[in-house]
């Protein structure tokens, strides 16, 4: 894990007496919420538990802690790795304990959030289907065929959600399902390795 000089400096501020013990705990938990995309970042300054901290230093500490947590999760750093960095930044043992416990608790979730940053292709999250009976059209009577309409719901990070829709006959759906089952079987074999 590599941290820039300004982040290290911000961490030192976070570990210093400029931030009281009570304020530090609050700050740490707000930082974790923020990396998960929860909580309201703009309300940090108004938080009564953090009122005694100088606002410039508060910003610096907050930013540094967020960068630290994200970077540690990104590189899959473990508890020991995290503690080492915090020790170097002159954190007290209590504060190291507080922050690394919070980090380990939420690490998997933070990694999940980071993993969703880039989806190369639209990611299928759901499927809807409908079965119609096609009777006729203006060129041809007595068509009399069942037709499936399939909606694939996809998500693609920033690019939002999209529905891929197509029709298929009974035979075509059988073909599709056979191929999907093959893919599932392959996955199972991979999972067993």
């Amino acid at each position: 894990m590599e941290l820039s000089a300004s982040v290290l400096k911000g961490l030192q501020v976070a570990g210093s007496s400029a931030v009281g013990d009570g304020a530090f705990s609050k700050l740490a938990s707000r930082v974790l919420q923020a990396t998960l995309g929860l909580g309201d970042a703009s309300s940090v300054q108004g938080d009564p538990a953090l009122s005694k901290v100088d606002s410039g230093m508060l910003k610096e500490a907050y930013a540094a802690l967020m960068t630290f947590v994200a970077e540690a999760a990104r590189t899959d750093t473990d508890e020991t790795g995290v503690s080492t960095v915090l020790e170097d930044c002159k954190f007290s043992p209590d504060r190291i304990e507080t922050l690394s416990t919070l980090y380990m608790e939420h690490k998997a979730k933070v990694r999940a959030v980071l993993g969703r940053v880039l989806t190369a292709h639209p990611h299928i999250v759901d499927v809807d289907w409908r079965l119609d009976y096609y009777l006729k059209n203006n060129h041809l009577d007595r068509v009399n065929q069942p037709v499936y309409l399939i909606d694939l719901k996809t998500e693609q990070g920033d690019k939002g959600n999209r529905i891929v829709q197509f029709a298929c006959s009974h035979e075509q759906l059988e073909d599709l399902v056979t191929k999907l089952k093959d893919a599932c079987k392959s996955l199972e074999k991979f999972g067993q390795k």
């Binding site: 899959d76 299928i124 759901d126 029709a167």
Partner: protein, 209 residues
């Protein structure tokens, strides 16, 4: 107990006076000529009409090109309408009875109709509106190891390429999913497939013919 409904079609093609007039011309020529007209009609149904053919035929027969044109077009309409409605043998014979054709001519027309009706229906279906439909699926299993935002992953990813045909053009949709969603997708579509064998669907499909 539910009441079954059987919907049966008996289609008689009703020909307009004008149409009957055009076809009446066929009674005044040899059977071989009618066969030729039928051949021309089928060619035109397959490939579109060619006015020069009318001229040549008109000269050979010593009649007006307009008459030839009407005769051929009359035959084309008869064949396509009967194919469209899937008129059965009996109904076809009843429909042309009003034209006063000879027995031989009636037999000939019926034979030509029965021989070509499926092909004509295929041609008509190409003209019909169609929804973009599934053509093929290719899949691939990848394991995502890292990205700029996240290192050290072991993330199984399934890539799916759907080939979708819309009219003449085929397009490719490249999508991805994870193992959980793949299983969900597969089982949902399996349920969809099973639905067609349900009593309700079978009853509807059996009764609308």
């Amino acid at each position: 107990p539910t009441v079954g409904v059987v919907i049966c079609f008996t289609m008689l093609l009703v020909l307009s006076e004008e149409h009957k007039e055009h076809l009446r011309f066929l009674t005044s020529v040899e059977l071989d000529v009618v066969k030729e007209f039928c051949r021309i009609s089928l060619e035109f149904i397959r490939k579109g009409s060619n006015p020069r053919v009318y001229q040549t035929a008109a000269q050979k027969l010593g009649v007006d090109a307009g008459t030839v044109c009407h005769g051929v077009e009359g035959l084309m309409y008869l064949l396509t309408e009967c194919s469209k409605l899937m008129v059965n043998e009996l109904d076809f014979q009843d429909s042309i009875m009003v034209l006063g054709f000879s027995e031989d001519l009636k037999k000939e027309l019926l034979a030509i109709y029965l021989e070509n009706c499926n092909e004509i229906r295929t041609i008509l279906s190409h003209m019909s509106m169609d929804l973009p439909h599934y053509q093929d699926l290719e899949w691939r299993l990848d394991v995502e190891l890292a990205s700029r935002a996240l290192q050290r992953q072991v993330n199984p990813l399934v890539l799916l390429r759907f080939q979708i045909k819309d009219g003449e053009s085929t397009s490719s949709e490249l999508l991805q999913t994870d193992p959980v969603n793949l299983r969900h997708l597969t089982s949902t579509l399996e349920d969809a497939l099973a639905e067609i064998k349900s009593q309700h669907c079978r009853r509807i499909m059996r009764n609308i013919k």
